[in-house]
């Protein structure tokens, strides 16, 4: 035996590293005690006078009080947006419209850390993610669409593109500021004005965004922010003076919205749930694939519509992959979202935690085998350990229903055809992952998978230039890229 091998044989195997705390400071965030609704360029009191606290899911502490909008507030906001649209925004030279959006992008970059900390505080996601993913992408979205504002005739040649008017937008709690940018940037670039309702549990970065609008000197009424719960969202999508509805959230609510706007002629786009298959072939580089699996389902605590929540692994490598996966899960750190070492943050709300627990219990009841690495979870706050189910049948609830948590269901396959059939066997169709070294197989799988976004040898990659959206009950319409402008335009 060579000297080197002998030495490696005797060197200690590190069982687990002990990480010193690496907290990101909260001091950069300055929160008011209470926020009104942002209508017509200023904060106003809600009509009902109702305020509720926004809670930090990691500590259960209240962060600030936010207003709850009702039908009257919605009417006021829509009217402000209509006013801004008709008296100015639709007449401003497109190049000047572009400049407002460039300003917003640059200001988000300048205030990036402040927003990242607030996002982690309010929503529970790790600071590394809000800092390195959410904020850079949000700024990039504004920067990308800024460039289209005065180039629409090239995006839609011979179609005489014009704005629709007022867009009513409802966004979810999993990427609050990023979802805001996905909605507001293309709407404004194409000349519309906006009334946006952030999710009930994550209003704070949207409210801080109003300060960015002040710094950018955006004319009043072009963007209006209504905080509140599902009732405000329902009023907004129903309002007759809203020309365009854009919704990202659960499939169930998406269907309600589709029913609500039926027959009204309103343009609608929906970005709903998913149950994506992450497919690993036996020629995939296994360590990379395992990183891809982990990123696919444990990134953002699995609160991702396009999460790779079903692992489809080729039988011949099943044992190897599961062993590597379980070992890797053991190294994931669940804890304080503001700690820079944290991999998996808090579950966004008590309600969501209950839903995850219910489905996990169903998985055990139906006969799947559960594995969770030992995890010391904090006493306060809402947490769930990374979980993987093996011995999962296609019909189990955990293979069919979206859990929206850090829970992976593992199924196997033998042939590419079987993988395709199993992957497509779902009412959803948002995304899929394919891991193989063979290019022709990547393209063949991409051709056959009924999903709007296909990641090959990677996962959870987003870019403002790359269109994102689903097939089937994952919704319709695309966000990002040239295609993301179309839902906000009227054509001859």
């Amino acid at each position: 035996m060579a000297d080197v091998e002998r030495r490696q044989d005797r060197s200690p195997v590190p069982s687990s590293f002990d990480y010193a705390p690496a907290p990101e400071s909260r001091e950069i965030v300055r929160l008011d005690e209470r926020y009104g609704l942002f209508i017509g360029g200023e904060f106003v009191e809600p009509h009902s006078g109702e305020f509720q606290p926004s809670i930090s899911p990691a500590t259960e502490d209240p962060l600030a009080e936010v207003a709850y909008a009702d039908g009257e507030d919605v009417a006021l906001a829509v009217s402000a947006a209509r006013d801004a649209f008709e008296n100015g925004w639709s007449e401003i030279a497109p190049a000047e419209r572009a400049k407002y959006l460039f300003r917003i992008a640059r200001i988000l970059q300048e205030r990036s850390r402040e927003f990242a900390v607030l996002e982690s505080l309010d929503g529970g996601k790790p600071i590394r993610e809000s800092r390195d993913v959410d904020l850079p992408l949000a700024a990039a979205h504004f920067f990308y669409y800024a460039g289209w504002a005065d180039k629409l005739e090239y995006a839609f040649p011979n179609r005489n593109p014009r704005p629709l008017g007022v867009a009513g937008q409802v966004i979810p709690w999993n990427f609050p500021l990023l979802m805001l940018s996905w909605k507001v940037a293309p709407a404004l670039a194409s000349g519309n004005t906006v009334v946006l309702k952030p999710a009930e549990t994550t209003p704070l970065t949207a409210l801080l965004f109003c300060d960015v609008l002040r710094q950018a000197e955006l004319p009043p009424g072009v963007v209006n922010i209504l905080t509140g719960d599902g009732r405000a969202g329902a009023e907004l999508v129903k309002h007759p003076n809203v020309d365009k509805v854009a919704f990202t959230g659960s499939t169930e609510v998406g269907k309600e919205i589709q029913r609500a706007v039926a027959g009204t002629g309103k343009k609608l786009t929906l970005e709903l749930g998913g149950k994506a298959a992450n497919i690993i072939f036996d020629d995939a580089p296994l360590d990379q694939a395992v990183e891809g699996i982990v990123n696919g389902i444990y990134f953002n605590q699995g609160h991702v519509c396009c999460a790779g929540s079903r692992l489809l692994v080729q039988e011949s490598i099943y044992e190897q992959v599961i062993a590597k996966l379980k070992r890797r899960m053991g190294t994931l750190r669940v804890g304080d979202p503001l700690d820079k070492n944290t991999d998996v943050g808090a579950i966004n709300s008590k309600a969501q935690l209950d839903r995850i627990k219910e489905l996990v219990a169903a998985g055990e009841e139906e006969g799947a085998e559960i594995f969770q690495p030992p995890c010391r979870l904090p006493e306060k706050g809402w947490w769930f350990a990374p979980t993987v189910f093996t011995n999962v049948a296609q019909s189990y609830r955990i293979a069919q229903e979206e859990i929206f948590g850090p829970v992976l269901s593992v199924l196997t396959f033998r042939t590419p055809d079987e993988a395709v059939e199993k992957a497509n066997n779902t009412p959803y169709g948002l995304s899929a992952g394919v891991w193989t070294e063979k290019g022709s197989r990547i393209l063949s799988m991409a051709q056959q998978l009924r999903a709007g976004v296909i990641w090959a040898n990677t996962y959870n990659r987003f870019d403002p230039a790359s269109p994102f959206g689903g097939y089937k009950e994952s919704g319709f319409g695309r966000e990002g890229g040239l295609h993301g402008l179309e839902p906000y335009m009227r054509f001859e």
């Binding site: 190049a95 572009a98 400049k99 460039f102 990039a140 920067f143 990308y144 800024a146 460039g147 289209w148 005065d150 180039k151 090239y154 995006a155 590419p416 290019g439 022709s440 197989r441 393209l443 063949s444 051709q447 403002p464 230039a465 890229g481 040239l482």
Partner: protein, 263 residues
């Protein structure tokens, strides 16, 4: 009475401001401006070629950001430019044109690229790529907006430039190089030479390591220059006036890739 410090107007090559290696200058617009030599031009082409890989490898988004920053710095120097060109209107036009093109950086591929439905089991796509080192002979007038209308479409696709500035009104171009030097544009991506177009343009047109040339600013006969350009099959770009992404497309190559689709 306070005596102002007079500015020296030098060349901009490889991110630095050298005088001409010939040591010569000419008097124009009330200043002595460097009179670039053929060797200076060859040095500029070499600087552009060296800077190109890094510039072309940046993401389009990153390039767009860098170009937008150039506009930020130009905006800060409005007064200086306005004094040189005789008014705000040209400065406004120049900055806004630059911003317009900057916004194309991460969109050209979507406009010009295609996915091609070939009659066989192949994934076939076409993407634009920078052609490489681009030579630009800037128009005499307007001294700032005219230069930017030629330079912005050339640079936005990822090319590196060698620019021969207006001969009779070069000061705006030299001031622009000071903006470029302070705004994250890597050294060598843009190089600007001042001097006699009659001396420099033929060298640029004949240079074997220049991939494309825009002769818009050449006064008089271009035929001989176009003949010289043929020696290495240079792309001779004839963009009209106004601005368009297709002006940028003229400085791009198109690459088509095939890959089988199958098990």
């Amino acid at each position: 009475m306070r005596l102002p410090i007079k500015k020296t107007y030098k060349l901009y090559i490889g991110g630095a401001f050298p005088r001409s290696e010939s040591g010569r200058s000419y008097e124009v617009e009330g200043a002595n401006v460097a009179l670039a030599s053929k060797k200076d031009l060859r040095d500029a082409v070499r600087a552009a070629r060296e800077a190109l890989p890094k510039w072309a490898a940046m993401t389009a988004y990153n390039r767009g950001q860098v170009l937008y920053r150039v506009a930020e710095i130009m905006e800060g120097r409005r007064a200086q430019f306005a004094e040189l060109v005789g008014g705000d209107a040209e400065v406004d036009e120049a900055i806004d044109t630059w911003v317009w093109y900057a916004g194309w950086a991460d969109k050209l591929a979507q406009l010009l690229g295609t996915s091609n439905p070939v009659a066989g089991p192949y994934f076939n796509f076409t993407v634009p790529e920078p052609t490489g080192v681009v030579g630009v002979v800037a128009p005499e007038e307007p001294p700032l907006a005219g230069l930017i209308a030629r330079a912005a479409p050339a640079i936005v696709g990822g090319n590196a430039l060698v620019i021969i500035a207006s001969e009779r009104r070069p000061l705006a171009a030299v001031t622009l190089t000071e903006v470029l030097a302070t705004s994250d544009v890597p050294g060598g991506v843009v190089n600007v030479l001042t001097g006699r177009k009659g001396d420099l343009a033929p060298v640029l047109a004949a240079h074997m390591d220049v991939n494309a040339i825009d002769l818009h600013g050449v006064e008089g006969d271009r035929a001989e220059l176009e003949r010289l350009a043929a020696d290495n099959v240079k792309r001779v770009v004839r963009n009209g006036s106004g601005h368009s992404p297709y002006h940028a497309a003229a400085f791009l190559e198109l690459k088509t890739v095939w890959h089988p689709i199958g098990v």
